[in-house]
């Protein structure tokens, strides 16, 4: 293990040798968000894919009916944010594990963060600005 690898493993920035607890909080976040997501995502999949005809009954009117209720708006918003942060952190870990060159690792993570931020903002905007009378 090189010194650079070692400082990554210890969660240390090579420029700043001070210990950071970021990796600990990221590890804990995966477990806490994972438990919440079990209810949100499995509930979502059960309602959308299995209950009452499953995916065959989904259309614009179905979405409009659900998002008329703040309960499902908050459900979907929480699911969007938690799932995106959980998945982004998972992919960050995978990039750190397998991309060996510093440059590759840096740019793959930049691509990940920019696309994740775009998806989170887009999804949030869609939930808050949904208009059932459009078109």
């Amino acid at each position: 293990m090189s010194l650079a690898d070692r400082s990554i493993a210890l969660g240390q920035n090579s420029r700043n040798r001070q210990r950071s607890n970021f990796e600990l909080y990221a590890w804990l976040f995966m477990r806490v968000s994972g438990i919440v997501l079990i209810f949100l995502v499995l509930g979502h999949l059960f309602i959308m894919n299995i209950l009452d005809g499953g995916v065959q009954r989904i259309n614009f009117a179905f979405v409009a009916g659900r998002w008329a209720s703040p309960f499902w708006q908050i459900w979907d918003l929480a699911m969007l944010w938690l799932a995106m942060l959980h998945g982004t952190n998972g992919l960050r870990t995978i990039i750190n594990d397998y991309a060996e060159r510093d440059q590759t690792r840096f740019w793959l993570k930049m691509l990940l963060y920019v696309s994740s931020a775009f998806i989170i903002l887009l999804g949030t905007l869609v939930i808050f600005t949904f208009d059932p009378t459009i078109g």
Binding site: L42, N49, G54, V55, Q56, V63, G87, G123, L125
Partner: protein, 131 residues
Amino acid sequence: MATAPVGTLYRGGQGMWSWVAQRITGIAVFFFLYVHVLDTALVRVSPEAYDLIIATYKTPIVNLLEVGLVGAVLYHALNGLRVIAVDFWARGPRYQRQMLWGVVGIWVVVMIPGTYYMMRHTVEALFGATP
């Protein structure tokens, strides 16, 4: 099969392969999530645009992919609980293999009726028979 090294859970055997599967299902679900937020965003374009993209979700091949998606999410969720038990429960590492069989067992028990309900319409449309 060679025995796994003592004192580690993630090197070799079921401990390692369940971890590999956790990564693969995680990546697959995450990429689908990107696509899914984009297709849902079409509700801001027009009802017709949204209904058109949702129609692809109702086709037989995509319907089959949905079963795969639910299977991937379910494994990731159940094995995630097992990882939490390994990390926080004092006896978790000792029972990790038994817990993996529990994960596989629950997965099979849920996926059999789940697949039936998810695929029922597609099977009826393709073969005409009402199961």
